[in-house]
Amino acid sequence: MTLIRPLAAVLRDAAAVIAFVIAWQLVTVAFSVPAFLVPAPSAIAQALVANAGRIGAALGQTAAEAALGFAAGNVLGLALALLFARVRALERVGLPIAIALRSVPLIAIAPLLTIILGFGPITIIVMAVLISFFPALVGAASGLRAPSAEALDLMHVLDAPERVRYARLRIPAALPFVFAAFKVTAPAAVLAAMVAEWTAANSGLGYLIIDAGEQYRFPLMWAGIVAATALAVAAFIAASIAERRVISWPVESA
């Protein structure tokens, strides 16, 4: 997805969103749509303002937990990928397991994690760690192996020590894969944190959405959803900006 679009396109999208919201408002009012179905945008905005403190705190908490988990998960994944690259035997056994584990639905882990680690932020952070870890590992492992045979031959002819081969060739080659994974795992970490809050917390955006729903406070629930969406989108945008800054060369999309 392109981020730096011409101004006209941004304005056009903004106009579309505004038009959509206006239409939504008109429809809900005109047909007296009950709140439990779809609250009017005005009601959602009201709930946002009235509960700004609570929503803000929840957003901050979820964001912090997601960010911590994201950071830790990526560090672990990258470290393990480097280890795999050095010790081929480990990679042959470990990588298929990692790929298999990657497709395990995260929500299946949440209850277990809650029982093992208990109620509280640790469980939530660990969920975010898990969701960031596997794509980082798999992506980095692919990237570290990406350089062509000729590139490796070049390093050999230049008599480069192994450490330098990693620093100057393998790791830069892996960066596009890693940053591409960020664009997926950053929003996913937000999702994972929210899922974990369903079982392991009584605060945070994920919890707020469910809690508001159970209390039939639908405008508040939708306000929470808006905040959650904004957070996920912000995470994605941050990852995209980071990618743009670091990866200054064209890459074939993996």
Partner: protein
């Protein structure tokens, strides 16, 4: 077993071309000299040293068919790469900026690899191969992926660059005309098993130009080499 019974001597400041059909082991031979592959038997000496020692003493420069320019570095960065990457420091090296001038890439120091044409990329690769002031330059089908016109131009450039530096050069190619145009001596190889079948001295005067390509002497030598190649091929049952 790619090669059998290969015996070759290359003199200092000679430019020798290796020609042969695919599978004749010419690239393998080059790679053995560069310590990219090991010979199972026999003796290889570069300036008196074995390939590994020669490589570590930075006596060798290698140009691959694929220029292998790192996309996250600009052209200057790529040419400087050997200086920054080689073990134990690089004393007595050529100035990267001078080399870029030599290969005709002035003004492109900060260009990135994807902004360059194929010919320009190989020029950068050649500059990079020269930065550590090697005694021997090894080129493995360096212009194989370029079109004919660019190829001829690069051949002229290579001769100009080589004559400006104090290096021995060994060029592997599957183009007979390229081999004859470049070399002092053309070594003809044949396949299954890979071996040297003939050596044709090239008596064309230097410096060689576009006109050389049309000269009758050139065409005669090309014909001779071609004949050697095909008669070697016929020997295979």
């Amino acid at each position: 077993m790619a090669l059998s019974d290969v015996s070759l001597r290359v003199g200092q400041r000679e430019l020798v071309a290796l020609v042969g059909p695919s599978g004749c082991g010419k690239s393998t031979l080059l790679r053995i000299i560069a310590d990219l592959e090991t010979a199972t038997s026999g003796d290889v000496r570069v300036h008196g040293a074995n390939p590994e020692t020669a490589r570590r003493q930075r006596l060798l420069g290698f140009v691959f068919q694929d220029p292998v320019l790192l996309p996250w570095l600009d052209v200057l960065g790529n040419v400087r790469l050997p200086l920054e990457v080689t073990r134990g420091g690089a004393d007595g090296h050529n100035d990267p900026v001078d080399l870029l001038r030599l290969v005709g890439l002035v003004g492109f120091e900060h260009a990135r690899s994807w902004q360059l044409s194929g010919g320009m990329k190989q020029r950068a690769a050649i500059a990079r191969a020269l930065v550590l002031r090697p005694k021997v330059l090894l080129l493995d089908e360096p212009f194989g992926s370029l079109d004919e016109i660019t190829r001829q131009r690069m051949n002229l450039e290579l001769l100009r660059i080589w004559s400006d530096t104090d290096t021995t050069a060994l060029v592997v190619t599957h183009s007979i005309s390229e081999a004859v145009f470049l070399a002092d001596r053309v070594v003809v190889m044949s396949a299954r098993p890979g071996r040297i079948v003939a050596e044709e001295p090239v008596t064309l005067p230097r410096p060689r130009t576009i006109d050389t390509l049309a000269s009758s002497e050139f065409l005669t030598i090309v014909a001779a080499v071609t004949k050697r190649l095909y008669s070697a091929a016929d020997e295979i049952v």
